[in-house]
Amino acid sequence: MNFLNINEEKIVEYLAKRLRWYVHEFAKKRNGVVALSGGLDSSVTTCIAVRALGKENTFVYLLPSESTPKEDMDDALELIRMLEIPKENWETIDITDIVNLVEQKAGKYDKLARGNLMARTRMIIIHHKARIHDGLVIGTGDKSEILLGYFTKYGDAGVDVLPIGGLYKTQVRKIAQYLNVPRRIIEKPPSPRLWPGQTAEGELMLSYDLIDSILYLRFEKWMSDEEISNTLNLDVEKVKMVTNRVKETQHKRNLPEVFKLGFRDIGSDWRYPREWV
């Protein structure tokens, strides 16, 4: 697939330039704040934030829970060392007690509900830190996850900007190699770590190589599910599983619906640029 032949150097340079402009000139904030899990996406995002804003202007938070493996925190710490993030710019906050307290007060349900609570607890902490540090919350979602809806609404998706949201997971991996992200981070199977043993590829029952190819061909090359099935030599039902997932999760990528009452309401005919002076 030609979309994998990316020019890593130019893409990193471009993303860093855009992030610098977005934080400093558009939002007029001093710092960027990132939640680092020790996984691929947040590691690459942290590297790009440091390139864009400098290590002094990047605040990094490790927010483990009981389902975070120790290796992830070790990997996150190794990255922090590699990027020479000053010690006053990073902190570990275990969220398990907070999640337990919410469950105790609001009721326990299932593992998915607890997983969502974890993602939303992290969101609350990271926004609080952004307020303290005059910063923007730098999100870590990639294009594959955003398209699949593989994120928690108002959790890991509750961010100010998504610098790697235009890169598929497989492209993020290539960028990580270029950025010299520790090998263990690049090679570990992607996982939201919302419960033990959870992996994205296990839940989706396909490798990201295939998922990304399907997404690219369907939504950027306008090919039909059948054409993709022939091109990738893959059962059409598997292709449909991916494309249906994009359709079913569309609501997660939109702002909440406002039912029309006025002549104009927030929604289809409210079209103003983000930069509105």
Binding site: L4, N5, N7, K10, I11, W21, P273, V277
Partner: protein, 279 residues
């Protein structure tokens, strides 16, 4: 004749800031003895204004008049929103000089696909436009302009050349896309533009100046890479990609002569155009 291109990053919807940027560039052009300075498409307003398009015509026209009366000694092409009738807006660029708005050029082809939705906001030019459009003489060279998408079709540039333009100005707001397949570090769209500009220059045996916007607007990013192409199809000057830049070039009028001696510009098969009318 010395032409200059001010490859600026206009601030979306902020005409006050953009006016400052124009003044800075004009001062620079004056210090470099530029005769004609070209700004990108909608340089006074920014490009992807969405519903703000409806709100900025008066302010942008006022800024245009201010520039015109401030700088009488230099010619310039400036992008703005033109509202000749109440509530009808045109994506336009004006040649200013000697204290006057000398000619207003309106965009003929309004892109409405992908991220572009110009037909939602702008009016299409009527048939009278093609009779009223004129060249402007700057330092003895006949100049006229088409805007961005107009260059992707052969006949707007051809019209200008047929009414006498020897220098065709193309202000543009071309956003980058497909960063996955950069060619020598540049977005693939830059190669398409280079091919188009060379074609327009050669087929009309005229100089072509492409002044592209640079910088971010919401999700989009304009790639810059402004170019000046000779009538013989050579890129004679080019600006940086992805950052603001300022370039100048001294036109070589002999190049126009050579291109017209050794090319088929003198031929014009009118019957083809009559046939096209029927299709």
């Amino acid at each position: 004749m010395r032409v200059g291109v001010a490859q600026i990053s206009s601030k979306l919807g902020n005409i006050k800031e953009n006016l400052k940027k124009h003044i800075e560039a004009i001062e620079k052009a004056k210090s470099k003895s530029v005769d004609l300075l070209i700004f990108p498409e909608l340089s006074l307003t920014g490009y992807n204004l969405k519903d703000l398009y409806f709100e900025l015509s008066a302010e942008s026209t006022k800024a245009l008049s201010d520039l015109s009366s401030l700088y009488k000694e230099i010619h310039m092409l400036v992008g703005f929103i033109y509202e000749p009738r109440i509530g009808l807006y045109y994506n336009s660029a004006a040649i200013l000089g000697e204290g006057k708005i000398k000619q207003i050029y309106q965009k003929i082809y309004l892109p409405t696909y992908g991220l572009f939705e110009e037909e939602r906001y702008f009016s299409e030019v009527g048939p009278e436009y093609f009779y009223n459009v004129k060249t402007v003489s700057v330092s003895g060279v006949n100049v006229a302009a088409i805007i961005c998408e107009d260059a992707w079709h052969p006949e707007p540039a051809e019209l200008l050349a047929r009414i006498g333009a020897d220098l065709i100005l193309i202000p543009a707001s071309s956003p980058a896309r497909n960063f996955y397949n950069l060619v020598d570090g540049k977005p693939p769209i830059s190669l398409v533009w280079e091919a188009i500009l060379k074609t327009r220059a050669v087929e009309n045996a005229s100089y072509v100046v492409f002044a592209n916007r640079v910088g971010p607007e919401d999700e989009e990013f304009f790639w810059g890479g402004s170019m000046i192409v000779s009538p013989e199809g050579e890129v004679v000057a080019s600006a940086k990609t992805n950052e603001e830049d300022f370039i100048t070039y001294d036109l070589d009028l002999t190049s126009i002569k050579r291109a017209r001696r050794f090319g088929s510009f003198k031929k014009h098969a009118r019957a083809i155009h009559r046939r096209l009318l029927e299709l």
